[in-house]
Each structure stands twice: as C-alpha cells, then as structure tokens.
Symmetry: D2
Subunit: 484 residues, 4 copies
C-alpha cells in the first residue's frame, strides 16, 4: 500500500460532485474556489506531513488491523500513547495552519467511539455492526481518507425532545428502513471542515430514550452523496478570503464550517453502524466527549503557539524588544500548557475498553473543556494587548489602500516602524487580527459541546458524599448530617 | 440660539469637501456611503436625543460661558457632576447605537483639557491661547459641532524620540511657523469617528522635551481642510457594511476609525492653542488621560448593557428561558458596573483646576483603564457562551443563502427554534456576533492608551514608602530598612 | 463642648460593668485584658486622630444638628462628600491599625439609616421615633461615644422564618412591650468591635412580614446593660494575643468580634426607634446595605495598603529589592483602588433622602460587595507570594525559641538575611502572616452580608427588559420575543 | 520480609533520641507530645493503609531491586504509571488526614532523583555513589522507613552566592572531608514532616558553580543524629494543638514544619551521595522540581476534596441544602481536577532516564506549579463563602465557652441551626476554618519553590523562535525580523 500524497488528495476532492454553496452560489471545485481552497490547503498539508522526514512519525502509524503504515488520522487509538499522539498531531496542525483541520478530527474520533459501541451492541443484539465498521475502516485506511464528523443537529426548540418537535426533521432521523439501507432526513449544523472532507461520519447529537429511537443513528457517507446539500457558514471576515490579495491579508490556510441538509438521503446497510439502538446513545456521547474534550486542549494550545509567535513578531515590528512583554508571553505559554497538559492528564488516566479502544478520564476531560472555554480568550486578549492598537481592532487601511492606490506611498511611509518592511508589519498585524477577531478564531467555546454541559459531567463525576465522609472522619463526627 | 437637529447635522456634513477614502475609492457623501453612513447615523442619534423629552436633560446643558442651552458635548466640564454626566451620556450612546460615537468624545475632552492648559501657559508665557480657545468654543457651541479628537501619531520606531526618527514626519509636527498660522505635516492614526465629525481637535501624542518642541502642537481644524487626507481603517467585517442587506446582518449604526494624513496643512493662528510649549505636554497628557480613562468605563458598560440584552434575546430565540443563564447575566451586569462605578469614583474624587475645569483622580482613573482592558473581554466571552454555537463564530449561512436562494426555505426551516421567527433569531445572533467578533467591537484595550501605560501611572501614584511606614508603625519597628 | 480624648475614652470604657467573657473567664477591664486591649487601643487611636493637626479634618466635622465640632463617627451623613469622608476615615483607620475599628462603623451607619427610616415611619404612623433618635444622637455627639452596631441574629434553621423557628429566640425579639419600654431576648452574633464600644445600636437582621413583626426592632443600649452577656469570639491565633510578647508577634492593635446574648433585657422607650413596624424593615435593609457596602471597599483597601507596605519591607528584609516585585505590588495597588474607587462611585451616584440622609447607589454598592469578597483574597495571596515561605505559613520559630532559649543565638544567626536585624525580619514576617492568615484577617466575605445576597440585589437592579429593548432597536427587530 | 505496621513505626520513632524543641521545650516523645503527635498520626495512617484491603494496592508495590512487597514511598519510580501512583497516594493522604504527610514525599523524590544523578556522576567521575545509594535504599525498603527530605537552606542575603555570604553557614556546607565521611554545618529551614520522620535526605538547595562546590552536598541521616537540632516552626493556631480538646477544635492529624540546625554533624561515607560535584546540581534541581511540581497538584486536590466535603456539611449544618451552592462546589471540583490532571499530564509526557528513573515533563510540571499557587486559594475562598461568617473568621466561642462554662447552655442554644447537633456544626466550622486559615493550610505557594521560579522554567522551555517561524510561515513572510 502506498501512502497518499497531497496530489492524490487534491485530485480526489477536486472531482467530487459539487454540492456545496456559499453566498447563493454553487462551488464547482473546492480546491480552487476562494471560499474553500484554504480549508483544503490546510488538509493537504497533512498529507505533506505524512511524507516529511521529521513529521511522519507523528502523522503516520501502523494499522492495528493490517499492520500497514497509514495516516494516523485513520487509525484506531488503543492506548493513552495513541490518544496523546492524537493531541500532538492536532497541536502541530494548528502550528502549521493557524487553524482547525476539522476533517481529520471528528471523523477519526467517531470511528474509534463506534468501534467500542458496535462491539457492545453486537454483544447485546447479535448484530454485525462492528464487522461493517471494520470493513469501512480498512477502506478508509487504504484510501487515506479525510473524514469529517457530524453530531450537532439543528435541534429546533431546545426544550422539546426530538419526537415532540413541531418540525420532526429538526434532528436528523431515520425516515425509512429499507432492506438495503436507510433513508435519512434532517440537518447537521456547524460541521467543521466538511468542504475539505471526502466522507462524513454521522453520530447522534444527544442521548435518546425509546420515543426518540429514530434519531439514534450512526453511519458514514461520501460528502457528495445524492440528496446532501452543504451551505458554507459565513464569518464577518469572509470577504478577505474571497478577494485575491495573494495572502496579504489572510493566510492560505483556514477553517470553515458547513451546514448539512439531508433530503431523504439513502445510506446502504454496510455504512450503517447504529440504527435505532437508542440505549447506546448515552455511552456513545460519554465516550465521544471524553476523548474529544481531552484532546481539544491540543487545538487551542497549537493556536496559542501561533499567537505567541505573532506577538513576538508584532512587538519587533513595532520597534520594541519582545522581552518587554515577557511576562505576558509566559502567561500565554502557561495558558497553552494548562490546556494541553490537562488533556494529556485525561488521556493518561483513561481506561481501555474491551474492544481495544482507549478512552480518556471523563472528569479530567470535561474539566479541560471548561478551561478550554476560558483560557484561549485570555490568550487572545494578550495578543491584542501586546500587538497594540493596529492589532486590537485591525485598525489599518485595506489592502487596496496599502498597495496601488495613488496615496499608497504615503500610507506605507507611516506604517514603517521596527526593523522590517511596512508590508511585513502589515501582514503580522493582520495575522494577529485574524487569530483573535477574524477568520482564524476557532470555536473553542461550543465546539465539542458547551462548557455548561461539561460542568454537569464534572458534577456527576465528583463523589460529593465520599468527600463528606472524609471530612466527617477527620473531625471524628459520628452523627449523620443529611440534606435539610 | 436654536439647538441643531439631526437634519442640520446631516446637511452640514453632507456638503463638506470629500477627502475620505476607503478601498481605494473617494467617498463622495459620508451620509450615504455604506462605509460611513452608520457612524454618521450614530451621531445623528445624538441630535435626536438633544430634542427628546426624556434624554435632553442628559444630552444638553447650559453653557458656562453664555448660559445658553447647548449640546452637552460642546460644554466645559467644571464639576464632578459634569464629568459623571459625560459618563452617563456615553453609556446611553452605546445603549442606543451599540457602538462608539467617537466624534463627541475625544474632541470634547480635548477642549476641556486645553481650557486648563492654555490658562497655565498664558500665565507663564503671557500668551493669549485661552482667549482663542474661548472664541472657538463659542463657535462650536453655537454651531453644535461634532468634534473628533486626535492624539495618536504614527510614531515610527517606538524606541526613538520624534526628533530622532529617520522619518521626521512619523509624529505630527510643525513644519513652519508663519505670521498668520502654522504649517503642519505628519499622520494621526486610528482616530475614532472622524468620518462623522465636522472638526478635529489635535493634541500632542506624548510628553516631549525641548528637542521635540516642534511636536508640541495643539489646534483644531475642519475635517475637510485642504491638505488633509483621511483613509478609513478596515475591519474583517467591512463587507457586511458595504452590502445592502437592509440591516439584516449589521445594525444601521456602528463605529469607524480613520487614518489622518497631513500634507503641509495650514492652521490659522486663531485655531492654534499650543505651539512648541513642550513643557506643558506632560500636564496635558496627565489631564487628558485622567478624564478620558475615568469616563471610558461608561462606553464599555453601555456596550455591555447591549450584550446583556442580546444574550437574553438569544437564549429565548434558542428556545430557552433566559433565567437559566441568570448567573452569567449577573456576572455581565457586575462587569459593567465595576467599570462604570469605578469611573464615577474617579470623577467623584477629582479636583477642580484654577481654570474651572474639573479633573478626575488619576490613580482611580488609570486603575479603571486597566480594568477596562479586561472585563469587557469577559463579558464578550459570556455573550458567546450564552448564545451558543451560532453566536460564537457566527456560524450561520449568509444573508444571500438565508433569503432568496432556491434552498432558502430549507435553510429557514432549520433555523426556527424558540418563540420567534427564524429571521429574528438570525438577526440577534448576528448582533451578538457583531458585538463580540464583528464590526461592533470597540477598542477598549488601547483606546485612550495602553493598560501598561496606565499601570505605570498607578505605580507612580501609589505612595509605597508611606505604606511602608504604616507597616513599620503597626509592628513598632524602629530601625530603617532600606532597599538592599 | 470639648472633644473627648483618648484618656476620656479609656476612662469611660474602663469603668463599665464587666459583662464580657472569653475562654470561660470574665474580663474585668477591657482596656488592660490582653484579649480586648488591642481592639480598645485601635479605637483610642481614633480619639488621637481627632486631635491630630493633619488628621482632624478627616476625623472631626461639624454637627448638622448643633453646628458644633464633633467626632465624625457621630455625624449624620448628608451628601456624597460625607459618605466619601466616611470611606476615607475607614481607610485611614486600617492604615494606622491594620485592622477593623468596628465600633465606629456599624453604629454610625445605623443611626444614619434610622434617621431616614424614623422619618418615614413617623409620617405614616404619626410616631415620634425621629425625635427620640435626635435626642440620643445629641447625647452621642456630646459624649463622643464609640457605638457598635448589630444586625446578624443567630438565625437558627436558615430555611424557616423567625416566627416558625423551634427556638423562638433564634432571632432577637420583643418579648414584652411595657409602658416604659421593651423587654428583648435572643442573640446577635459576630458583632465587630463590641469590646471597645460604649453603646450598641441594634437593627433587625432581615426583612420581615407581619407574622414576624416581633422581630422588627431597633434600639440602642449601653454595652454593659443588665441582662446582656458578651462572649468574645475566638480565632486560631488567639494565643499570641494572650502572651506577653511585647508586640513581637502581634501588633498592639487588632479586631475582635463579640457574641451578644440578651436575656430579657429592658430597653427604655426613649432608646427605641422601631417596635414592630415590620413594613419598614425592607427599606431599612436596603438603605443600610447600600451605604455599608459602598464604604466597605475603604476598609479592605486600607488593609491592602498595609499589605503593600509589609510586602515591600519583607522583600528588603529577605535581601531583595522590592522593585523585583513591582508588577505584583502594582496589582495589589490596583486591587485596593478598585474596591475604593468603586465605593466612591457608589457614593457619588447616590441620592439624598427627604430626611437629609444621603444613600449610595445600590447597584454600584452591591457590585462592590461582590468585588470586596474576591480581590482582598488575591491581595493576600500576593502578600504571601512576595514574602516567601516564612510569610506563607508563618513558618518560623516561636518567640520563645527566637529569644531567650539556649539555642536562640543559633536561631537568630540563620534568620539574618537582608539589611536589617533578624528581629525586624521576624516582626515583618509575623505582620504579613497576621494580615493574611492570623488575627488581622478581616471579615470581608460575609461582613455586611454575603456576596450571594449582593448578587441578588444586582440582579434586581439590572433592567434586563430595558436592555432587551436596546438590542431589539439596534437590530430593528419588531416582533416581541417572550420567555419560552 | 514483613511489611511494617503502625505499631512498628510508632515504636521506632518513639525511641529516637529527643532533639526536637518547640516553645523553648525539648519534646521527649514525638508520638505523644501535642505539638508533634498529629503529624506522627498522619504518617501512622500510611502504615494502616498499606495493610488495608482496598488501599494496599496504592500504598504498596514491589521493589524494582528485590521484587519484594514494600511500602510504595520507599520505591523507585520508573514509569509514568509509577509517577501517577505517587500522585494518587498523595491525594489519598490528604483526603484521610486533611494535611501534608511530608515525611513520605520529599525523601521519596530525593532518592529517585539521586538514583539518576549518582549514575551520571559515577559515569563521569568513576565514583561509586549509586552503589552506596542502592545499599541505603535496600535498607530503607526493608525497614519501611519514613524519610523526610530537605532542600531549602536559610540562604542569608538573597543577592549573594553561598561562598560570598558574611555567614558562610547560611547554606548547609561541607566543613571537612574526612576519610570516613563528612562534617557538615548550616541550616535547612521549613522542612515538612521532620518530626514524624525516621531519616532525612539532604539535597543541595540551589544550582552551584565551582566557587560554591562545598555546598554541593547530598546525603541521608537519621533524624536523631548527634549535632542535629530541630526547632518546630510555629503557626498562629498552635495553641489549639496544645490544648486537650479531644479533637473538638482541631483534627487528630495535621502537618508540621521543622527548622534543622546542623552543628558539625558527621555523615559516614556510605550515606554520602554527592560531595562537591557542583556540576550536577543543575540537573539535580531540574529533575527534582520536574517530579515534585508534577505531583504537587495531587496534594492540593486532595485537600480540596476535603474542603468540598466540609462545605457540603457546613451548608447542611447551617440548615441549607448543599445544592444551593452547586455552582461553587463544581468550581471547587474543577480547581482540584485542573491541578491533578495537569500533574498527570506532566507525568504522562515525561521521559525515562538511562538509570530507569522516570521524570515528568518540565514545561507541564512547572506550569502546574504556577497554577498550584493560585487555584487552592480560590478553593479556600469558596469554602469560606459557602460556610458563612462562622467559617470565614472562625467567629465562634472557644471550646471552653462552648462546653462547661456556666453559660454554655445558652451558647449552644444559639448555635443550633440545621439537622445536626450544635457540637457537630461547631466541629465542621472549625474544620473549614482549620483548612482555610488555621493549622491545616498547606504551603502550596512556596512549597517546592516559588511560582516565579517556575515561570522562569516555563520561559526557557517555550520555544519562542520556533513559534515565530510558524507565524511567519503562515503569513508567508520571507524577511527576517530581528529584535530591534
């Protein structure tokens, strides 16, 4: 088996059926359209890394199924080392792209979670889900696929269960079970990296009871499947992506999020891994969030590393030694390492599932999620503080005013400051802006679920009564003290 | 004297000489061009307020010079009550516009500071600066002018004094003193609200010694003066302003910042209030920052109020009771009130200058600046936390996808959630996005100077040795304990 | 009228009836017993200040009733300046004593609150409460009394109303109304400064409905009234106060709190200011907390000032320049000034009551209370960080080991570090310990009520629906969006 | 080999030579004297745990040298699992004792660090240090010793190197090298748990250059060695330990710290593991701090667990449901888990030394140290907030007033609140006080070195220039941008 390259990947996604829209327009080729080419480039860089002498160790591994060398993002993670390697890969991705490479993240986690869940379901229901999944994973490993993952439904009214929604499609559901497969309908929203993906792994978006069994659904499908329409989400800063500024105002990489609309899409049986087994949605969510929220610290620390780099450069470009800001730079590094190290701790204290899959410790993982929803905001604040006014609100002239207008000489004259060209200073300020208030801002708050949800898990994983007993023993209190 | 109205104001700015550019284009009429009409509208609302039965008390006052009723933003502030009224007006402005109304802020402060400084200079140098200023203030009050203010120079290399810069124009300077006035050259950058202003009040951007006396310069000039070119700064989100979305994605109000380039501009003598008196730049900066940083808490608390409102609506639009988030909403309110109340405390503990001008307490004002550079970021974070994923990264389809595309029905079907239309939900999410990551984000970090600068002032206003003596007395330590 | 001196005060409290106990013992003379002499000395310093050339301006004022010069702590506060003067006095008290001077704090506030409440009650009920109060205030001003104040009842079961408690005395109550006065029974706990007080002003501890009218009770009584027993509360560090270490380990000043037990105490009518008028307990609590929580920032900032002084000294005594810690010292100063300035802001934005009493703005005052329950903890943390291990846990030998033991020479040899004697280093470390973990720690968390109570007031003073309207107007949303 | 029991341990320490003083008195038997019996009991509980069916897994392991079952605190840690087991043991210790069990902590770490360092030194200098250490470890494992560890010297003037101090003994040093061993003199201060230890492992307190080679010294000695005098450090709250209150006000467990004075103490050669090899002090400190600061999070999280338990009980004892405080309780749990999980992450990302010893990742470990110096303070603040006024400043009557005084009935009547006896409420409040402001407060700020020291390590382990390169690559900036 030969490991795929950037070109293999680009060719593959380039020839997919166009089903992605933005600003009312159909995108013909995601590899060249300015709205999607950056997220594709972000993922193409992964293929480069798999062939890079230094990085290949991180970006490839040997398949636990075949023993062959594969891209790591197609692997089954079966030890705390594997989980930590996932984290390392994510941190490295952010360092190289400044952004989320969503299409090697959720899909990867999804296949691992389902590896365990299918085994549990097969045991109880005598189904053959894991066999199907095994087959698909072999295919994905062989093709070196980039696989996005989708959980979040459109949800509708947050206080009603899926089956009670006025709009039954508010959550993705099984409309019909045929002999050869399923028909599904509904929407998955805010799905990272879909424009760069080849396939999309679907998981249920919540824990369901029997009444909602039609929503207990897991499968994987090519991104260009018939009946699936994708609308690219917008950002305030989209325009900069669309303009051809030769990388002057935005990087050549960057994240995207897609809105997926399923209009009676057919999924053949061998791609279906859960079909109504609602009882297992609880464990599924539990396994998924444990690993996802453990590793999410790696993303934000990688982005934080780039913010540190940009801040050092910005100080210099302003004519100041970066050492003046050492206290703040160290604070940024500490923020990064808290999220990263806490995630690694969750991995280290995890447990191995009977299926071989390794799951992170939930209490620590969800604690990390709470922290991930705070510290990166502080790191961004520091980036703006170090960078000065031109970073804070990106308060600079446009690319067109800076280059080529009749008064551009004058503009550039006044943007010269430290030991670099006005252009370099402009670009670094734009990078800092992009990272903190522009297109590069990742979704660390609600990505992978809300911090309040994580707090709930922390609550239910904290053994309050056990702690009460420690306190009573230490003070030798014999009487029972109940809730009043 | 009749108080000007919105129409008077719009007519006045509409017929000014076009000298503002954006994206390489000259803006013909700031009142109608999409890049500037929002900031103009923000200020037009001030004139409405001056004629509103409830708000007029706040937006007008009687001139201390003539006794006549004037717009408050043209007044001299001569008591702590006047300063607190300034704060109240600013908070109210943000509540009504969601944004900075910069052209009634720095210019106002500037005229007050210069009222005191001109008196001090006149006393020492037997000049007649205050008489000139008096005349101009009467004019501004009579015409009800909207006056921006400008301090920040382009600065060049931050480690060199102005007179040592390779580019002498890096700081705005007097190029020539003529009998009838001055010729000035240089740039003032990141100046809020200039596109909506009628005049611009210039102050020196730093404290200067004798070698830099050519930079010790204060004057006021019409925004459309010959030789002055203004480039509007860009934001990642500009495109939304430029599109005609009928207020769907962005409000009809909003802030702007301009870059001012002076190419040998002539300032007649009667508009010059400082001309080389470098010795007074120290007091000038001290007075200016005390009042500016005391009152800046009002801006951010006003914006915070709108974030609270948007968050309550967002919760409801998602189908959730806002009470679920009461803890976070109270945190937001506390953040607002810390900045506001601390500013009011700085005003209350201020002192009256011989000239009648009232100045806020520097220690408290600069403490407030430090806090203003932190709490609003936390309030924004909470806005994103309450609003959910569609607020966090504005992860929604574009206006064009939402309305009028062939698949828009489908899109809207999936954006229905709580007790309001999908459109209303969309608009609130866009408002929250605009406030936290889009065009509505104000410059609370570096506006009015950096927090590190404020910390320096705190340091020099903290009587460390006095505190050492208290500690020694309490422990009855007689021996002297010097720095080692 | 001649203003009382330290000696007048000491003589007066010295000859009061002994009714204070600690460790099972009756304290004969509070001015000399080691358990109480420090709090008495703290208050004696106030009388010194009233006669000090520089401080008298702060510590005295002219009576609004008689025009005569009085100790400020006996005055009626009738303007924001008066309130801010209260704050200044409190900050100065802490600077000079390192501790709470509770007996010139709550009683003062109580008489001011009751000045307004009695007027309101008199108007509705045609009572003569204010006349009685007026008479007592004239007496207090003439005698220059030190008056503690007491609100907190023992409360019993927190989930039951006073009249539903199994122990009816859990809240102080009117047992009998006689022609000449009242009989009261119950307990007031954690009352600051009682051991140093001459009289104690009682207020209801909560808001009551009709069923609880027997608890709606306000009066003032001499501290040594028959039937009142006071137990001094303990602290972990009491022993150091009791030992005679000549001020080596603890200052000669310091706070105390008393537990007041009323066993059918008689209060004559002319000292009763509320007697069952439960309807007014709501306003009473509202007025009281507004002023108390506005001014509480002054206490903690004064203590913070001493922590700064102690930290500077500690750095030097360790052989380090205090400049190394400048960042942390500035943080401490900022913490102090946030609490102080925010309190001043609450005072400045207050309102004048018909009775002449001035009340601070509740939203700002309660915001301050929330902050006061946080920042001083951070300041203490910084004191421990700067001071090093010997401050953190006071990890040093005892006074007896340091002085006079056979090995004391050896001990002192190893405690010599910076440019001062080992003894001075020892004393400063003890001061820092005392301020952060010893007897000098003030009750900033629950003193004046809990921060959660303050958050409730913030909640009810935040006009959420008004803010919702601003948000809707800014986005031009016409439809109503109700709670789901 | 039979694993030692509580009785073996107590007998062993009981018969040691008395050389510990407090308050000027010699302590005859550390197992019974009230100043030391609590710390001894804390360690006796470890021996119980080694024989407890559930806990033995944690408290014992098999020796990597002999394969025999030993107390875990005598083991060599050779994998990340071993390090995490160290953390688990420490958390469990705190849960059971509420306090630091210092004599199974630093000594354990010291022997592991020296295992690696002796191997490195032996390789360079052809010494036999590891052989000696091996022999001693076998002895320690066989006897199941409790071994304290000591680094911190008295230091003297912080700005002078050891060899330049006016008092040469300010840092522990080799006075003489004899054929059979060393003579050492000086002091080690603030050494946790010495009173409960059987032996003490000495390490150099800093990194030394050649001039200071006499201070590069590591050895281990029995606690009662001739010439060693120990003074127990005091706390404000000592008196409560000394009184016989039958566990009413303080637990039967608790931490202590000792001051060790060495007056020409002889150390025989077979107990000497470093003798002037100054070059290795740098690695020694680096190894030591990595492991110590990784695992320190376990201590503070264990103490935090007890604070949670005490807070739940306190709420109930006050008559309130603990659920009211769920938000704060979850915050406390999050604080605990951040420190714990981050420590585990440092262990997981560590590296194995050639000698077999496993060392934690320095960047993560030192990040943890910074966090450990902050979060526990917040947890303590929350404990005081939840507990109410009686916890905050322990504002309650003394044991003597509560029990047995003539008025004790009255006192108890007013301390009844929730569903438990007044006594139980009293004890829980005392526990919360003890944990936050009393004898139970651990030294998380400076224990294991200062947070500023840890920040330095973070700084030097953050690859700033690498991050700069990422930023430049992302924006395609070719030019070099040096520090100005």
């Amino acid at each position: 088996m030969v490991l795929q390259t950037r070109n293999d990947y680009l060719k593959a996604v380039s020839k997919m059926r166009p089903n992605i829209y933005k600003f009312g327009e159909l995108i013909k080729d995601v590899t060249t359209h300015p709205a999607t080419k950056r997220v594709v480039e972000s993922h193409a860089l992964n293929y480069d890394a798999s062939h890079d002498q230094i990085l290949e160790k991180l970006y490839t591994t040997n398949s636990s199924l075949t023993g062959e060398k594969i891209h790591r993002w197609n692997s089954l993670m079966q030890s705390s080392e594997d989980l930590i390697a996932n984290m390392k890969l994510k941190r490295q991705n952010f360092r190289r792209t400044g952004s989320c490479t969503g299409a090697v993240c959720v899909g990867w986690n999804a296949q691992n979670v389902m590896w365990a869940i299918t085994q549990e379901m097969d045991k109880e229901y005598r189904t053959k889900f894991q066999e199907r999944l095994n087959k698909w994973i072999l295919h994905a490993q062989k093709e070196g696929l980039t696989v996005a993952g989708a959980l979040t439904d459109s949800k509708g009214n947050r206080s009603l269960k899926p089956s009670k929604q006025p709009n039954l499609d508010a959550n993705l559901r099984i409309v019909k079970i045929r002999d050869d497969g399923l028909i599904i309908r509904g929407a998955k929203l805010m799905i990272a990296g879909t424009a760069a993906s080849q396939e999309i792994f679907l998981l249920p978006g919540a824990i369901y009871k029997e009444a909602d069994k039609d929503f207990a659904l897991s499968c994987v499908l090519p991104r260009d499947t018939e009946g699936l329409t994708i609308i690219e989400a917008t950002r305030p800063s989209d325009q900069r992506d669309l303009e051809d500024n030769s990388g002057f105002e935005v990087p050549n990489t960057g994240p995207t999020q897609g809105l997926l609309f399923f209009e009676d899409v057919f999924i053949p049986n061998d791609r279906v891994f859960m079909c109504g087994e609602y009882k297992y949605t609880s464990k599924l969510i539990q396994y998924f969030t444990a690993n996802y929220r453990a590793c999410i610290g790696a993303c934000v620390s990688g982005q934080g590393d780039v913010m540190i780099g940009a801040s050092v450069l910005m100080a210099r470009a302003n004519g100041l030694s970066s050492k003046i800001f050492m206290n703040k730079l160290v604070d940024m590094s500490i923020n990064n390492q808290i999220n990263y190290g806490l995630g690694a701790g969750a991995c280290a204290m995890g447990t191995k599932h009977d299926s071989g899959t390794f799951f992170a410790d939930p209490l620590t993982a969800h604690t990390n999620k709470v922290v991930v929803a705070k510290l990166p905001y502080e790191t961004k604040r520091l980036t703006q503080e170090i960078g000065g006014g031109i970073v804070e609100t990106g308060c600079m002239p446009s690319y067109k005013d800076f280059n080529g207008a009749e008064y551009s000489d004058m503009v550039q004259k006044y943007y010269k400051a430290g030991p670099c060209s006005p252009e370099a200073r402009y670009k670094i300020a734009r990078l800092s802006e992009w990272l903190t208030i522009g297109g590069g801002v990742p979704g660390c708050m609600h990505g992978g679920g809300s911090p309040d949800g994580a707090r709930l898990v922390v609550r239910f994983n904290t053994p309050f009564e056990e702690y009460v007993d420690y306190a009573r023993k230490i003070m030798n209190i014999k009487e029972d003290i109940p809730e009043p």
